[in-house]
C-alpha cells in the first residue's frame, strides 16, 4: 500500500520536462513571467510530494 506513494515522484518529471506546457510570458506574478514562477513553484511542490513519499515509506528509523 505505502509504496504506491513513490509514484508521486514521477509527477515533477511530467510537469517540468514537457516544456510547451509552460513556455509563456503571461500570467505574470510579482513581475515574474509564467515560465519563471511556474518552474520556481515546482521546487516547493516537489519537496511536498517527496515528503509525502517519505511519510509513507517504511523507514527503518
Amino acid at each position: 500500500m505505502a509504496r504506491h506513494f513513490l509514484w508521486l515522484l514521477l509527477i515533477p518529471f511530467v510537469g517540468l520536462l514537457w516544456v510547451p506546457f509552460y513556455n509563456f510570458h503571461d500570467p505574470v506574478l510579482f513581475g515574474f513571467p509564467f515560465f519563471y514562477w511556474y518552474q520556481l513553484a515546482w521546487v516547493p511542490m516537489t519537496a511536498f510530494l517527496t515528503w509525502l513519499a517519505y511519510r509513507t515509506y517504511p523507514n527503518e528509523d
Binding site: P20, V28, N59
Partner: protein, 495 residues
C-alpha cells in the same frame, strides 16, 4: 569592473578565509574517532553524518562556486535556456530518493567506500570496476579545476593580480584535507552554505529594488536580448527538447560523481538520505533566484569583459564594499568545499580500485588512509597545474565531456540495485559504446553539449550525454540477450 585593491572588502574576505582555515584543521578533532587512519573515517567521516550535516555537506559540494558564477553568467548571455539548471536541480531529488538509499545500504552492509567498490561487489568484474573508477577520477579532475576558476573570479574581483593567491588558497586547502579528511569540508560547509544564503538573499531582495522591481529586470533583459539579436527570456520552440534533455541528463548524472556519492556514503542511514531528498530543494530555490542575477546584470547595464563577471560586478556596483568582500568570500569558500570533497572522492577511488586492486591487495585500513591522503594531494596539484598552464577553455571542454562520461557509469552502478538481469560484459559493452560514441559525437559537433538528432521527420537538438546513455543501455540489453549468463559469484550473490 574595479581592479584596484579594495581594503574593506579584502579585510572581510581574509577574515572569513582565516576562519574556515582554522575550522579545517580543527575538524580532525570534531566527533573524534579512535583513529582517523582508515578510509571509513578519513574518507567518509565515519559514516555517521545525520540529517543536518548531510544537508550542509551535500548542498555544499553540489551547488559549487562555479555554479554560483556560471549559472547567472549563462542566463546573462542566452536567457531562458540557461535556466535549465532549475528543472535539473529539482528533478535530481526524486531520483536521489528512489535510488540512493539502496546504494547506501549496499555500501554500508559491505563496507564499500566508492561506486566502483559497489560495482565490483555486485558483478565480481575487475574490468567493470576499473571502467567505473577511471571514469569517476577523469570526470572529477576538470570539475576541481572549475572550482579554481570560480575562486579565481572572486579573487580577481577583490583586486588581486596573478596566480599566487589562488595557489596559497589551494595549498591551505590541500593541507587541512590531508589532515582532517571529509570532516574538514563537512564542517566548513556550514559556514559556506550560510554565507552563500545571506549573499543571495541580500542580492535578490535588495538589487531588484534598486533596479525598479522584478518586472523592470525582466523587461531590461528582454530588451537587451532583442538589441543583441540573440537570446530571449522565453525559449524558442527549437530549444524545447534541448532544455528538457539537458535538465534530465544532468539530473541523472549529478549523483554519479565521486563527490556527491561521497556525501551519500557518509550519511548515517538510508532515512537520512530520504529526509535530505525532501530538504535539499531549499537550496534549489536559492539557485533559481541566483540565476536571475543574470537578468539583473542587464537591468544594471553592466559592461563586462567576461560573462563570468556578472555576479561579482553586481555585488561591486550595488553593495558597500565590505558586503562585496563578504559575497566574494562566500564564493571562494564555496569553491573549497567541493574541491575538498572531489579530491577525497577521487582519492578513495584510486586507493580502493587501483592501489588495493592491483598494487597491494594486502593493504590494511591504515595503509589505505595513507595512500588516499597522498592521492588527494596529487589530485589537487594536478587540477592547479591544469588551470595555471592550460587555457581555461580546456577545463570547460573537459568538464562538458566529464558530464557525458560520468553518465555512462549509471547502468553499471544503478541497475544492479534493482535487477539481477544485467551481466558485467553487457554493461561493459554499453559503457564502451556510450562513452566513446558520445565523445565522438560531441567531438565532431565542436565540443557542444547538444547534437542534432533526426529520426524520420522528427528533428531536435538533444543533450549528447542522454543520447549516449540511451545507446549505452540499448547495447547492454542487446549483449545481455546474446551472451550467456556467467555463474554468479558468491560475493555478488550475498548482496
Amino acid at each position: 569592473m574595479k581592479t584596484e585593491l579594495d581594503i574593506p572588502a579584502v579585510a572581510v574576505f581574509l577574515f572569513f578565509f582565516a576562519l574556515v582555515t582554522v575550522m579545517g584543521f580543527v575538524a580532525s578533532k570534531w566527533r573524534r574517532p579512535k583513529t582517523l587512519a582508515s578510509l571509513d573515517e578519513w574518507g567518509l567521516g565515519g559514516r555517521q553524518f545525520g540529517t543536518w550535516i548531510t544537508w550542509f555537506l551535500v548542498s555544499g559540494d553540489f551547488y559549487t562556486a562555479y555554479t554560483v558564477i556560471a549559472v547567472p553568467a549563462l542566463v546573462y548571455s542566452v536567457g531562458a535556456y540557461g535556466f535549465f539548471a532549475l528543472p535539473y536541480t529539482i528533478l535530481v531529488y526524486p531520483i536521489v530518493f528512489m535510488v540512493m538509499p539502496r546504494l547506501w545500504q549496499v555500501a554500508k552492509d559491505n563496507g564499500y567506500v566508492t561506486a566502483a567498490d559497489v560495482v565490483h561487489g555486485r558483478y565480481g568484474s575487475r574490468m567493470l570496476e576499473a571502467a567505473v573508477a577511471i571514469t569517476g577520477v577523469v570526470a572529477t579532475m576538470p570539475y576541481i579545476a572549475l572550482q579554481l576558476i570560480g575562486m579565481a573570479t572572486a579573487v580577481k574581483a577583490l583586486g588581486f593580480e596573478g596566480e599566487l593567491p589562488l595557489i596559497a588558497a589551494f595549498v591551505v586547502l590541500a593541507l587541512y584535507t590531508y589532515s582532517s579528511g571529509l570532516r574538514a569540508p563537512a564542517l566548513i560547509a556550514f559556514v559556506k552554505d550560510i554565507m552563500i544564503y545571506i549573499a543571495v538573499i541580500a542580492a535578490v531582495s535588495v538589487i531588484p529594488g534598486k533596479l525598479g522591481g522584478y518586472a523592470a529586470v525582466f523587461d531590461a533583459a528582454d530588451q537587451a536580448f532583442k538589441a543583441k539579436g540573440s537570446g530571449s527570456i522565453l525559449l524558442q520552440p527549437s530549444q524545447y527538447v534541448a532544455y528538457a534533455t539537458l535538465a534530465l541528463g544532468s539530473a541523472l548524472a549529478a549523483f554519479m560523481y565521486p563527490h556527491t556519492l561521497t556525501g551519500i556514503f557518509a550519511s548515517k542511514s538510508a532515512t537520512t538520505i530520504r529526509k535530505n531528498a525532501v530538504l535539499l530543494p531549499a537550496y534549489t530555490l536559492m539557485l533559481g533566484l541566483l540565476a536571475l542575477l543574470g537578468y539583473m546584470g542587464h537591468a544594471a547595464k553592466l559592461k563586462l569583459a567576461s560573462n563570468n563577471d556578472v555576479v561579482p560586478a553586481l555585488f561591486q556596483t550595488l553593495f558597500p564594499s565590505w558586503f562585496a568582500g563578504f559575497a566574494f568570500a562566500a564564493i571562494a569558500i564555496g569553491a573549497l568545499v567541493p574541491a575538498a570533497v572531489m579530491s577525497i572522492g577521487a582519492a578513495n577511488l584510486f586507493t580502493r580500485n587501483f592501489w588495493k586492486a592491483y598494487v597491494n591487495p594486502q593493504v590494511d585500513t591504515a595503509g589505505e588512509a595513507a595512500v588516499a591522503k597522498i592521492a588527494s594531494l596529487v589530485v589537487k596539484v594536478g587540477a592547479l597545474l591544469v588551470i595555471i598552464y592550460l587555457p581555461t577553455q580546456f577545463a570547460l571542454d573537459l568538464q562538458l565531456l566529464g558530464g557525458l562520461w560520468i553518465l555512462q557509469t549509471l547502468p553499471a552502478l544503478i541497475f544492479g540495485l534493482f535487477t539481477r538481469w544485467f551481466t558485467a560484459p553487457a554493461l561493459l559493452a554499453g559503457w564502451v559504446v556510450g562513452l566513446f560514441g558520445g565523445t565522438y559525437l560531441a567531438w565532431t559537433d565542436g565540443l557542444k553539449p547538444l547534437h542534432l538528432l533526426s529520426i524520420g521527420s522528427f528533428q531536435a537538438m538533444v543533450y549528447v550525454g542522454l543520447i549516449a546513455l540511451v545507446v549505452n543501455i540499448a547495447v547492454a540489453m542487446l549483449v545481455n540477450l546474446v551472451v550467456p549468463k556467467p555463474v554468479v559469484t558468491a560475493e555478488a550473490a550475498s548482496t
